[in-house]
């Protein structure tokens, strides 16, 4: 009881402290996740096949295996899309089998701990449960948890950014490897939800405001998190009424996994794959203009495999 009250009081003080804005005094210049710039054997690996887990494995192996990204004893974050209270068939969330396969590969590569989380749009409990991701990831030994509103840090950039000071979930920054695992689907504003859009899921605050001037904000946040590996789940594609969907008629079975280390290139390929011109997607265009990444699919080294 005593220790609880100490915690309670110190919690209050900390909150007052941070509200007074004093925490900025001690904040480092930029608290972005350090860039690793790990390159795979190919720029992109695209694998097609019937088994989601198998094609995920083949895709990562095509890049050089999970050992390339996950060192022994490291802490890994896998950030799938668990935004909606929908079953896996509706393709509103990442395929649970893809997530489970990634978790397993991370542990095989010697990861100490694999964290799986997202900040959903619907009730977190229902999203985690009904997307099937909680169960699938827990079975492979991952830590699946909810993002507590008090465990956010304010983003600090070295350049001027509209995302300056935006609350970012701490665990997404403080990890050795970040694997971004979005699902390819339709979105009303950005046409498609891809890997960069998926990183909105580690942002707190009033996320709706990110939609204003979204292209720049998404590229900034991708730069901030700098995911080491991007695995786009295009096993089922939601083609209309995204991002939440809800009608099986809108879902196409594409049975494909796109894996790469450059988020822009992965997004550009995925956009092309979904039948959209990459440069019409605002955040891909922005990323190319800022030379953050390349969307030049014809010049890239892409390995396409059928399983």
């Amino acid at each position: 009881m005593k220790i609880l009250s100490v915690g309670f009081l110190s919690g209050i003080f900390l909150e007052l402290f941070s509200r007074a804005g004093l925490s900025h005094v001690f904040a480092a210049k930029s608290n972005a996740r350090p860039k690793k710039n790990i390159k795979g054997f190919h720029d992109l690996v695209v694998v097609k096949g019937a088994d989601p887990a198998l094609i995920t494995r083949k895709a990562v192996e095509g890049l050089g295996g999970m050992e390339k990204f996950v060192k022994k004893g490291s802490v890994v974050v896998i950030k799938p899309n668990i935004a909606w209270d929908r079953a896996p068939e509706y393709a509103a969330n990442t395929n649970p089998e893809v997530v489970a396969a990634l978790v397993q590969m991370c542990y095989e590569a010697g990861a100490k701990r694999v964290n799986v989380f997202d900040i959903p749009c619907n009730s977190p409990e229902r999203c985690y449960e009904n997307s099937g991701i909680k169960k699938a990831a827990l079975e492979k030994g991952a830590k699946v948890y909810f993002c507590d509103s008090w465990n956010f840090v304010k983003a600090a950039f070295t350049y001027k950014s509209p995302m300056e000071g935006w609350p970012i979930f701490r665990d997404a920054i403080e990890c050795d490897t970040f694997i971004n695992c979005p699902v390819l689907k339709h979105h009303g504003l950005t046409e498609l939800t891809l890997s960069m859009k998926n990183l909105m899921g580690v942002c707190g605050g009033s996320r709706g405001l990110i939609h204003i001037d979204i292209a720049r904000k998404l590229v900034d946040i991708t730069d901030f998190i700098s995911p080491d590996l991007t695995v786009i789940d295009a096993y089922r594609i939601l083609t209309r009424h995204g991002p939440s969907g809800g009608d099986l008629k809108d879902v196409n079975l594409a049975r494909t996994i796109i894996a790469g280390t450059d988020p822009t290139l992965a997004d550009a390929y995925a956009a092309k794959f979904a039948g959209k011109e990459p440069m019409t997607i605002s955040y891909i265009k922005e990323a190319v203009q800022r030379k953050f990444g390349s969307a030049d699919i014809s010049a890239a080294d892409i390995l396409e495999v059928n399983v």
Binding site: I3, L4, S5, V6, G7, F8, L9, S10, G11, I12, L14, D85, C121, N122, S123, P124, E125, R126, E129, N130, K143, Y145, F146, D148, W150, R170, H187, G188, L189, S206, G208, L209, H211, I212, D213, I214, H241, P243, S244, G245, G246, D247, D250
Partner: protein, 517 residues
């Protein structure tokens, strides 16, 4: 004979624990050991009065009859051994040290109001008005536990652990422990209930009264106690005194004031607290199943003056007052207009106000915390009824929890297929503040969150200058009024999209309003 008192205390503790446990487990995904309505189904006042006033037979009413049957055998065991409010009152009464002794006449006066209240409740129910909820002890304690106690406890535990983790940087094992607590019993969301201080004060008044006079609420006001008192009158289990030396200790100690000057006792007032058995210096008091025939003239204590039964305690003057007060509530029973957003498929407003017992189950279980107790938003008669406050939370599209925990079916049980076609209200966009309309910037947060597969919020492209702006429209045929758009709308202080309650046109006790999808 200490055993009996200990047994009673253990029973009280166990039932209070079960009561709190049930309410604690009234949360997603409803995997508690007991159904959320258990204690309400065991409550004859709620079940019978609601059944009479609504002219229907509530599911599970049979359990409350079982309770009445048990009362016919054991007397008011419920009040002394089970009732959660009674237990809390007993705990408060423990701090009452001054033994105030009332005379028989005072005791009689003190115990009559509850019968009066019960009569008012009963007569009102004959006229189709259910007011049992106002003073029902189970409702009072459930509301307190659900909307006050549990949120406060979870908030304190949450904040303490949070402070510990942050201060000492214990992001390792302690954080993992905290997370497992969250998923096991703390809940992911810290809940907040508007005006819950009023609920607390209501309870607090009852408790404070008990400090001045033990069990004062149960003796004087409790309508459920009054109902049980009727059935306890011919109870088979009786108090028996042998070898009495008239030390009067039992009379002084009796928390219900049930023992008369003549040391006879009023059976309908006895809650079997076992104090008199325990305290008796002669060890001569016991409770036995007495044989009816042998009973007469067998007891060693003389009978006191014959007392009038509780029902006849209502004098003519009281009866007139009663008639007056029973008419009074009808003034407020004008055709009620729905001013607030009610839970999915809730009955028509006036029926809903009648059927709802304000137990707080639906608000406790609501996964988004959007269901809040109304204070005066739904009128005076709508106090503590649930209404959706989209600023706090929306109605989760595929969630059917509130209907599953409602003890009186004021919110019907729905299947997910019915639920997704149930309309709560209609959304309306305020173009004066909406970002794409006013500031000509893209937003579409409402469209993105709209859970309807075909999207009740449609986007239209507008070419403004050199850029394209997507502006939202509402398709009123598809909108269910789940209010997620209002919850998520980034415009402050007033949201640019709001859900307004619609006139529901379904008849009495009919199913949900269906909309085409």
């Amino acid at each position: 004979m200490k055993k009996a008192v200990i047994a009673k205390r253990i029973s009280q503790f166990i039932f209070l624990s079960i009561f709190i446990y049930i309410l604690w487990s009234t949360t997603y995904p409803l995997t508690g050991l007991f159904p959320a309505e258990t204690f309400f189904k065991l409550n004859p006042l709620i079940m019978i009065i609601t059944s009479i006033s609504e002219r229907l037979i509530l599911a599970g009413i049979i359990f409350s009859f079982v309770m009445l049957l048990l009362t016919l055998i054991f007397g008011r065991f419920f009040c002394g051994w089970v009732c959660p409010l009674g237990t809390m009152i007993d705990i408060a009464g423990y701090f009452n040290r001054g033994r105030r002794q009332l005379t028989d006449a005072q005791n009689r006066k003190l115990r009559s109001p509850k019968f009066f209240i019960l009569s008012v409740v009963f007569i009102a129910s004959l006229f189709g008005l259910q007011i049992a909820w106002i003073l029902d002890p189970m409702v009072i304690s459930a509301r307190l536990v659900s909307l006050n106690l549990i949120p406060t406890m979870t908030l304190l535990i949450n904040r303490s652990l949070e402070g510990l983790i942050k201060t000492f940087g214990l992001y390792g094992w302690l954080y993992d422990f905290y997370r497992s607590l969250q998923t096991s019993f703390l809940g992911v969301k810290i809940r907040f209930f508007a005006h819950s201080i009023v609920i607390f004060l209501f309870f607090y008044a009852i408790i404070v009264w008990a400090v001045y006079l033990k069990r004062s609420w149960c003796r004087g006001l409790c309508p459920l106690g009054a109902l049980y008192a009727f059935f306890a009158k011919p109870a088979l289990l009786k108090r028996k005194v042998e070898k009495c030396n008239r030390c009067m200790k039992c009379k002084t100690d009796c928390r219900m004031g049930a023992i008369k000057d003549g040391l006879d006792y009023v059976r309908s007032e006895c809650v079997l607290c076992m104090d008199c058995v325990y305290d008796c210096p002669q060890k001569s008091t016991s409770f036995v199943f007495a044989d009816k025939k042998k009973e007469d003239n067998k007891g060693e204590i003389e009978k006191g003056p014959i007392e009038k039964g509780p029902a006849s305690g209502i004098s003519r003057r009281n009866f007139l007052a009663l008639a007056f007060f029973s008419l009074f509530p009808f003034n407020s029973q004008m055709p009620a207009r729905q001013k607030v957003i009610r839970p999915p498929a809730a009955l028509k407003e006036e029926e809903f106000l009648n059927r709802c017992i304000r137990c707080g189950n639906c608000m406790k279980v609501c996964i988004t915390n959007g269901l809040q107790p109304a204070l005066l938003q739904a009128g005076l008669s709508g106090i503590w009824t649930p209404h959706l406050v989209p600023e706090i939370g929306y109605c989760e599209y595929r969630c059917t929890l509130c209907g599953n925990v409602c003890p009186t079916q004021a919110i019907p049980k729905l299947t997910v297929e019915e639920k997704v076609r149930t309309r709560l209200g209609l959304a309306k966009i305020d173009r004066k503040t909406c970002i794409p309309w006013k500031k000509k910037k893209n937003c579409i947060v409402c469209e993105e969150h709209c859970p309807i597969p075909n999207k009740a919020i449609k986007l239209k492209k507008f070419k403004i200058g050199d850029k394209i702006v997507l502006r939202p429209y509402i398709n009123q045929d598809l909108c269910t009024g789940c209010a997620i758009c209002q919850t998520k709308c980034p415009v402050r202080p007033d949201r640019a999209i709001k859900v307004y309650p619609v006139k529901v046109t379904h008849g009495k006790n009919q199913g949900p309003v269906s909309i085409k999808i």
